[in-house]
């Protein structure tokens, strides 16, 4: 299972890319994914961001479905 992750704003700067595929596993939660991301990008630990799973904001317990689109969203600045 491979997860497609989109990075926005300062999180794209940290990852150095707009999106990438990470290895995932069945019944993986948002919290599990965060663990992976923090290992790969330690700088993200200090950043405030939300995670959208298929365009809905998830919390740590949200299960990531197969072939989900995940997005890392830094604080909103619209308006």
């Amino acid at each position: 299972m491979s997860i497609n992750i989109l990075y926005f704003g300062m999180l794209a700067e940290i990852s150095g890319q707009a999106n990438e595929h990470l290895a995932g596993k069945e019944n993986m939660t948002v919290n599990d994914l965060k663990g992976q991301l923090f290992e790969k990008y330690p700088e993200m630990r200090e950043k405030k961001f939300k995670i959208a799973v298929n365009q809905k904001i998830g919390d740590d317990e949200t299960i990531i479905p197969l072939s989900a689109e995940i997005a890392l969203l830094p604080p909103f600045a619209g308006g």
């Binding site: 926005f8 300062m10 909103f76 600045a77 308006g79």
Partner: protein, 149 residues
């Protein structure tokens, strides 16, 4: 058109011009059940930062989710308030200081619905729509990521 509430394109490249606002107003003059228009415009301030003045904001967005969220905000506002028309436009890309980046336009028979909806919609946009902004500061083109309060 407005009764179907089809998803509408919200993002416009660059600044929103006063002429665009005028054209939108003019299009509503044939709707003679409208008695009140409330318009909100967000304009880029030249805020003073440690690195210098803000010269503009470069907006980016998670566009698919943002357009969907704008659509939900629209539907929700039509349910909550007795509105005849509603239009939302937001800039994407660079908007220089002094230019307009947000245009929220609501119309109703009586003023109360327009006032309440205008404020509600702007607050919803600020907190719910995944739009990101780089405040460009100083002559060297440094930047700070903006965050809504």
């Amino acid at each position: 058109m407005d009764k179907i509430h089809k998803p509408k394109k919200v993002f416009v490249p660059g600044a929103i011009s006063p002429q665009f606002v005028a054209d939108s107003i003019a299009k509503h003059q044939s709707k003679t059940n409208i008695g009140a228009h409330a318009i909100f415009l967000g304009q880029i301030r030249a805020d003073e930062k440690a690195e210098g003045h803000v010269t503009g904001i470069e907006y980016s967005a998670y566009e698919e989710m943002a357009e969907q969220t704008f659509h939900e905000i629209r539907e929700d506002a039509f349910t909550k308030f007795d509105l005849i028309c509603m239009h939302i436009y937001h800039s994407i890309g660079l908007v220089p200081t002094g230019e307009i980046s947000l245009f929220v336009f609501v119309s109703s028979a009586h003023r109360r619905a327009a006032f309440e909806a205008s404020e509600y919609i702007v607050e919803q946009i600020k907190t719910k729509v995944p739009i990101f902004g780089k405040e460009l500061v100083g002559p060297a083109g440094e930047y700070i990521w903006k965050e809504n309060k």
